[in-house]
Subunit: 535 residues, 2 copies
Amino acid sequence: MSELAKNAANYRALTPLDFLVWASRAYPRKTAVIDGERRFTYSEFAARCRRLASALAGQGIVRGDTVAVLAPNIPATLEAHYGVPMLGAVLNALNIRLDAASIAFILGHGGAKILIVDAEFASVARAALEAMTGPRPMVVEVTEPGTGLAVGEMDYEELLGAGDPAFVWTPPSDEWQSLALNYTSGTTGDPKGVVYHHRGAFLNALANAMTFGLTARSVYLWTLPMFHCNGWSYPWAVTAVGGTHVCLRRIDPVAVLDLIERHSVTHFCAAPIILNMLMHAEGARDKRFSHRVQVATGGAAPPSTVIAAMEGMGIEVTHLYGLTESYGPATVCLPQEDWQDKPLAERAGLMARQGLPHFAVPEMMVADSETLAPVPADGATIGELVFRGHTLMKGYLANPKATDAAFAGGWFHSGDLAVQHPDGYVEIKDRAKDIIISGGENISSLEVEEVLYRHPSVLEAAVVARPDATWGETPCAFIALKPGIPIPDANEIIGFCRQNLAHFKCPRTVVFGELPKTATGKIQKFTLRQQAGEL
Amino acid sequence: MSELAKNAANYRALTPLDFLVWASRAYPRKTAVIDGERRFTYSEFAARCRRLASALAGQGIVRGDTVAVLAPNIPATLEAHYGVPMLGAVLNALNIRLDAASIAFILGHGGAKILIVDAEFASVARAALEAMTGPRPMVVEVTEPGTGLAVGEMDYEELLGAGDPAFVWTPPSDEWQSLALNYTSGTTGDPKGVVYHHRGAFLNALANAMTFGLTARSVYLWTLPMFHCNGWSYPWAVTAVGGTHVCLRRIDPVAVLDLIERHSVTHFCAAPIILNMLMHAEGARDKRFSHRVQVATGGAAPPSTVIAAMEGMGIEVTHLYGLTESYGPATVCLPQEDWQDKPLAERAGLMARQGLPHFAVPEMMVADSETLAPVPADGATIGELVFRGHTLMKGYLANPKATDAAFAGGWFHSGDLAVQHPDGYVEIKDRAKDIIISGGENISSLEVEEVLYRHPSVLEAAVVARPDATWGETPCAFIALKPGIPIPDANEIIGFCRQNLAHFKCPRTVVFGELPKTATGKIQKFTLRQQAGEL
């Protein structure tokens, strides 16, 4: 049957751009995008994306060029997820919390020809442009109506106005074609540029839509930044089902709860720390949504207190895990039928695990990083979490050494250390570099942090290794307390840990104070490790 | 970014076989298959499929070989959808209603090495094997426990018993690799063998799962034959979400309603004719399911009476359309929000349309068959429905002429004549070819006419569809007799057909008289169709 070759009718490159074509044909009059008081139907949304593509083409953007965006979750960012790749160009969504130097590095490294910047980030953009040594991108600015340009050479809406709403674009002929470029906030050295392809974005969007149960009736609130792994593919996933995108410029817990109520939001994604903010928001205690709301959380395991508070509000929690290199979520802690009757503490323990890969990542192992021999699924033996599948990056841009290391032995190395439980679910114990080795024993800093988070006074906790003459390393805990809580005795904290952990795992040192964070809101363990070394 | 090549970690061929791997890892203890009193968990189901693959390999089956199945919707048929392609072999599921001559032709044309046959179809299988002129397949028989082999050389469960439940199979390296072979009841001459590939089955399964809203909580009742376009990809789609398959040997309306109740069936597929049987089943009038039940229907538009009756029972109706060449459903009549408040008659009119393609078929047109110029979307201008996408066949096996014709101009020609409405929804107005659809089965009028022409008294014959309350349509034969021949008994003609055709293909009505002709001497089927409608 080998004579039956591909032809124009039976073969087409997979691309998430087709989702917009589909949605604008299926639901032309339906609200695609809500942004404050603005509404765009799918017909209007698609026309704006075609205008953007047309206008970018007019500015000389062609296949393979990079277009960067520095903006929060506003329509322009969403539109760039379609308008840019419609030209075969590559979208580089920048983290709005980055400093000017990092932005300058990324713009230079990614070779952005155009930068679309939101007025709110004009000054950091200006500083970044000034810091650039190589060619600078042309700047398009998203402004508030009636205000002038702060940094841009052109207004975004004017650019769109110059574009053709009926622009005919050419879908990619190769589904391996680059679609997006996302820089990881490397803990050491320069950020690495993760490259996505059209096929992977198409499949990850479907995997997410199915895993999260998106349908045409779904209303998705944009709490998760679109610059994080292209918003875990949701710019494409929500469109793939003809759902509604609700834009959100910044996270204000009270406003989030209000938007969920007002627009009957059915789905959103947020790190546990955001859920923590929601549960402590004004009025949250008495809140109970009458419609079904689901949240996918990741970046850290949702603590039982968060799960309980969300469920109290009528919000179902799903725990996902992934990396920039895996287009966002690669695994999901699939709830099993018999979990629902278990007590909260036990259920939270089960839900804290990273779980199983979704269907777009068919192969996962916890294995020896070097030999790639799988460790036993005993819930105890630690190995590295490695993957194979449809939604792993093409590689790092212009960084063959890092690319080769990430794909060593034909598996993608996550750099996360995990155990596999007898039910197949994996549980991350630590980043490879965050493990503490004390007296020859491996101590998972996450495990210790989990206990610390259960202490009533603790708001945030981070545990790192402190060099020790006797033990090699000992756990050192950095703790931010809840507002208004007086600084407790360190021994009280250590004692609490001893009641809940093997003694050798308990912190020997406790430091109270605010925790240093990265631009993405991650606690800077690197800095804490330095501090611990100097104690 | 072109240096970022595919590697073993980031590229893998798409295959629906991975769904079984996924489901047996995610839900090992969950019920995958219900068959009467038998239950298989996903772990057991996967082991049975691996046993089948291993045992078939032991019988010499290798990549590219064909394995045929002649069986109703029993576990063996479901298992063949995995066990056969696990070897890179091609599954040829045969229509159990075919006559021996057709089966013999297909087994020969498809080159089946092994035929798995259910005991109920032993005699037609025996006749088919005897009628074969070329090499015959080895026969494996699915028997009832305690009964001997009627036609097979080996018992199916014994074959499985000899297989290795831990058999390690190799996923396809090429997603274009052939997966299945499905014969259409061709309108002229011999049946054509439609070839599917792994990529298309993977994507059609996902498109169906999403279109129909399948989740891990879904329970799917197998009313739709698995030999129809591989059951519209549901053997793979239901598994892709970890749902439960409920097998069904034959359609008994009372039993179907009972199974829906007993197993909390959430989804099933059935032609309107089957729904018609359900609504007239004993006890159906007072039936109202307390859980949500959805039916996808196709083959003909669901009449308003059927929609009303189903909704009365608590069953939501979705209208799908597709062909064997499109892996089953290619379009869906997506319900729009504002339809639900419309009166039934209007809603039924809207729902009678074939609708819009799902996301795996990104391009659809109603166009001039020759020039491929689209017709206006005015709901009136008729053109041919043509498609481009991910889920259109590789082509017809060993039939380059038919393949080329089907893909003329780089579009797949459905052969169906349709209009496109201003909302983009298409509606089929007529078959380009004179197909009769009776009880969900396609009957070629030309094939019946060919037999009629063999009758010694027949001068001219034309067969058209006659509307029928039970079957949807039945074949109605118009016959002009040879000069001097007295008008025979209609039953004599029908009896003659029965000796030469599958029973369901034989005319139910026979009308004698002169046949209306066009100026060029062509029989005016259009006129005869009108006459048949008035009988």
